[in-house]
């Protein structure tokens, strides 16, 4: 009986743990999974005859499920450890100090795979990473739920919304107080939200341990957005930031290659780019006089004015016209595709020759973006991509 009480306390405790969102305390996440925790006690209890009558059917079935799951995980863990030892022996390393990184290396070496998608290749990971985490029991021995929102079927989600409402009210009260005192300081909430975005649906789900529908997620984000717009939202900064993740600046995503030197000690870079069905490789050489060579010819390789202007566009944009030489080779279908790929490659190369501010300007001008637009396919039952046959009744 004492042990039973322990289980109850433990479970109610770990349920309270859910309230601190995004806390990575193992007690809350793994409680039902790890074999030496609460549920192993539950197994023992299951066979205590004196208490069987009091245990509700819900609890009983939960305990059965927990037992099966725990055994399964235990088995998986055992197999994982054995597999790890085997791999360590095969690779001639000490099994005691064989890490997950070594496992990955060994798998890649021993089971080489040419499959495109990394997720389709063979792998060996800790069962915790593969099998989804489960919630601990949400009700007591009599089948009575711990949480008041249990019957919403998504207590953690609705609890979060409830917490938001409470915090909203607190901020309102604070604002009232400030107005009453005559203090009106404008605190811009934009300041701390800048450069971050709301976390994805998947990460919210993994923290709440509940699957959400799209509308539930957008509801949550809407509420959070409105909460963040509050004049005194800065007071709840830590709470809000739990639901936001840092964005990387667009210019930082792209790596700028280093300048190389050729035999006459002039700096140069190369870049290959694509557009539509053609590709181009461009070499931009510094300390030049503005020579342009395309497939061995000069700029007159392109007959149309628009194409010639496109070649000049990035050079003119960064005032590098006449300061660098361009050597380009292009192949593929269509002149505008070729010229587009050369333009992108030149712009990419020019990043090495200009300062960071100009790179950002080039990005805003759309010179550093790949153009994903392609010819739209013809559809059956109509003469073109969009065009329809003339409709005749008969």
């Amino acid at each position: 009986m004492a042990a039973l009480r322990e289980v109850l306390i433990f479970n109610s405790k770990c349920f309270r743990g859910v309230r601190s969102y995004f806390c990575s305390s193992p007690a809350f996440q793994y409680s039902s999974l790890s074999p030496n925790n609460a549920s192993s006690n539950v197994q023992k209890l299951d066979f205590e005859e004196s208490d069987t009558k009091r245990i509700s059917k819900a609890m009983k079935s939960y305990m059965e499920r927990a037992k099966i799951h725990d055994n399964f995980i235990k088995e998986q863990l055992h197999q994982y450890n054995i597999g790890k030892r085997h791999l360590a022996n095969m690779m001639g390393k000490d099994p005691e100090f064989f890490t997950q990184h070594d496992v990955n290396e060994a798998i890649r070496y021993l089971f080489p795979s040419g499959l495109y998608d990394p997720r389709a290749r063979p792998m060996m990971k800790h069962p915790d990473e593969i099998y989804p985490k489960r919630k601990a029991a949400e009700f007591d021995m009599n089948g009575r739920p711990f949480h008041s929102l249990f019957y919403t079927s998504k207590p953690n989600y609705y609890n979060l919304l409830h917490d938001l409402a409470v915090k909203f009210k607190q901020l309102d009260n604070h604002e009232d107080k400030m107005i009453y005192r005559g203090i009106q300081d404008q605190q811009a909430s934009e300041l701390f939200l800048f450069g971050t975005d709301w976390v994805s649906k998947e990460s919210v789900e993994s923290v709440l341990l509940e699957s959400l529908t799209d509308s539930q997620y957008s509801n949550l984000i809407k509420t959070m957005e409105r909460f963040a717009q509050h004049r005194y939202a800065v007071r709840e900064k830590n709470f809000i930031m739990q639901f936001r993740h840092q964005l990387a600046a667009q210019t930082e995503i792209q790596k700028i290659p280093e300048l190389m030197r050729d035999e006459s000690n002039r700096p140069f870079t190369t870049f290959s780019a694509r557009r539509k069905r053609s590709n181009a490789t461009v070499k931009v050489i510094g300390e030049g006089t503005g020579l342009i060579s395309i497939n061995g010819e000069d700029i007159l390789y392109f007959k149309r004015k628009q194409d010639k202007e496109q070649i000049i566009f990035p050079l003119e944009f960064c005032n590098m016209l006449g300061k660098v030489d361009v050597v380009a080779t292009c192949e593929g279908v269509g002149m505008s595709g070729r010229v587009g790929s050369i333009r992108l490659a030149i712009a990419m190369c020019l990043r090495c020759f200009v300062d960071a501010e100009t790179i950002e300007r080039m990005r805003l001008a759309g010179l550093l973006s790949y153009d994903p637009r392609e010819r739209e396919r013809k559809k059956p039952g109509q003469p073109g991509a969009r065009e329809k046959f003339t409709w005749k009744k008969r």
Partner: protein
């Protein structure tokens, strides 16, 4: 409702708007190769400077930008409106031909204006003559743009031509369309570029067929103003 609740009404509206914007992220736009949050490129150097000065560029630091299109440019000869006009003149994708026609028209405008310039004797007269064909084109289009339009609306069994105000975009489209239609009119001797040059200079001086067409439309709208209330209900 608390005092602060009342005070919050305005920012609340903003919040709803912004949340609507973020909602649209969830559903993908059909037919677009770009995701809906990707920004349009700002390739014009003056506009870009303005964007950076206003601090808007700082906000876009984290947002991807669409690639500049094939006909975008920073050349001194580049003009947004002209490029639009060339696209409207174009038939069956023959852009180079359309561009040559429009540019020849501009050349004719320049020649005519220069002839006037050299004929003029005093400096005051010369200063009045506009020599830049692009400026002439912009002014001509402005003179040709209508403010109202007639739309057929059915009321009580009969259709009425109801005057309605039109957007800037639509006005620009109509002006360009009329200009092109006027220039394409079949006549043996005069070709498109010459016609265009004459029409542009006429429209620049607020005379000519296109301007007359605009005035006719306005007159018709004026006549039909009794039906204006059919727009609603």
């Amino acid at each position: 409702m608390s005092l602060s609740g009342l005070l919050r009404t305005l920012p609340t509206l903003n919040a709803i708007n912004s949340s609507l914007g973020s909602l649209s992220l969830l559903s993908r736009q059909p037919y677009s190769m770009y995701k809906p949050f990707v920004k349009e490129p700002v390739y014009n150097i003056e506009q870009l400077d303005k964007l950076i000065e206003s601090g808007e560029a700082k906000k876009r630091e984290f947002v991807p930008v669409k690639a500049a299109r094939n006909d975008h440019n920073v050349s001194v000869f580049y003009d947004d409106l002209t490029s639009k006009f060339i696209n409207m003149v174009m038939v069956k994708g023959q852009k180079e031909l359309a561009r040559n026609l429009v540019e020849m028209g501009y050349m004719k405008v320049k020649q005519i204006q220069l002839a006037k310039y050299y004929e003029a004797t005093t400096d005051a007269e010369r200063a009045e003559i506009e020599l830049n064909p692009i400026t002439i084109f912009h002014k001509a289009l402005e003179n040709c743009s209508p403010v109202l339009q007639l739309t057929p609306i059915k009321r009580g069994g009969s259709t009425y031509q109801v005057p309605i105000p039109i957007t800037e975009n639509r006005a620009r489209f109509l002006a360009m369309k009329w200009m092109i239609l006027e220039c394409r009119e079949k006549e043996r001797k005069i070709h498109f570029p010459e016609r265009l040059a004459f029409e542009l200079i006429d429209a620049f001086n607020n005379t000519g067929k296109v301007v007359k067409r605009k005035q006719d439309l306005h007159k018709q709208c004026e006549n039909n103003r009794a039906y204006a209330h059919y727009r609603w209900g």
